[in-house]
Symmetry: C2
Subunit: 151 residues, 2 copies
């Protein structure tokens, strides 16, 4: 039986609570700039909620699901849904959440994530200037902001 897709607004609500849009900039000597840039979208839940991740995967039509035992930490096992392929991020994940927008504070992270994706799409992550720009975007993502605007 095919996995049942979800109402897209449901996905937006679920992701606003549980999803994470992140920009990874890591040292990698293979790159001219010395750094590799990756955009990631993921959702990590306890193992017993695997089915909802399969339905999100079926709805977004991309990504992979991983089992995380956390055995050596003695934690509850988890499952992670992850999209790391740039084409999927750019052509599937971003258009989806532009059509069915996030409504909570995560929409600020998503806006920065989209800016980063545009830079990567234009290959700016392979230049020093583009990398500096991406570093600035990253610094503004997933940061706790007080209602008064202070960090």
């Amino acid at each position: 039986m095919a996995t049942e897709v979800l109402n897209p607004y449901y996905v937006a609500g679920f992701v606003d609570g549980e999803g994470c849009f992140s920009l990874c900039i890591s040292a990698n000597p293979k790159y001219k700039t010395g750094y590799e840039v990756r955009l990631l979208f993921d959702i990590e839940l306890r193992e017993d909620d695997r089915e909802i991740l399969e339905r999100i995967q079926a709805t977004l039509q991309c990504g992979h699901i991983y089992h995380l035992t956390y055995e050596r930490y003695g934690w509850t096992p988890h499952v992670k849904y992850k999209v790391s392929c740039f084409t999927d991020i750019y052509e599937k994940v971003i258009p989806f959440f532009q059509k069915y927008p996030l409504q909570a504070k995560k929409n600020r992270d998503f806006a920065l994530f989209c800016e980063a994706a545009e830079l990567v799409k234009r290959k700016q992550h392979l230049t020093r200037a583009g990398l500096a720009e991406l570093g600035k975007l990253k610094a503004r993502m997933n940061v706790y902001e007080h209602p008064g605007g202070n960090r």
Copy 2:
């Protein structure tokens, strides 16, 4: 300006990730059985996500929002949206999530919560037998279940 309501499917998705349906049974000598029974629906988020709680409150048309400083613990301040009035639970919260169902494992807790609400509606929580029944429902709520079915 009136607070903008949310798409109901968005609310279902958000609540599947962040909401909590609980049944509180606490010793209280004012009651003949010696115990008070309360049904609660709540969502607790970091303080900077207050707006989404206000929009959920506007969508469900019930409940209150509380500010939690957590000052003495040194934690990040939080906000909590809470519905504890039984009439609101029974006439607003439950019908809403029956119409726009939860899709993740939280739907099991919600089903038990509905069973508990029916018992309370029929005043069974004021009897010893009803209280024992509610205790059994509570024991099955918010419990981590392994995919194999073992607790």
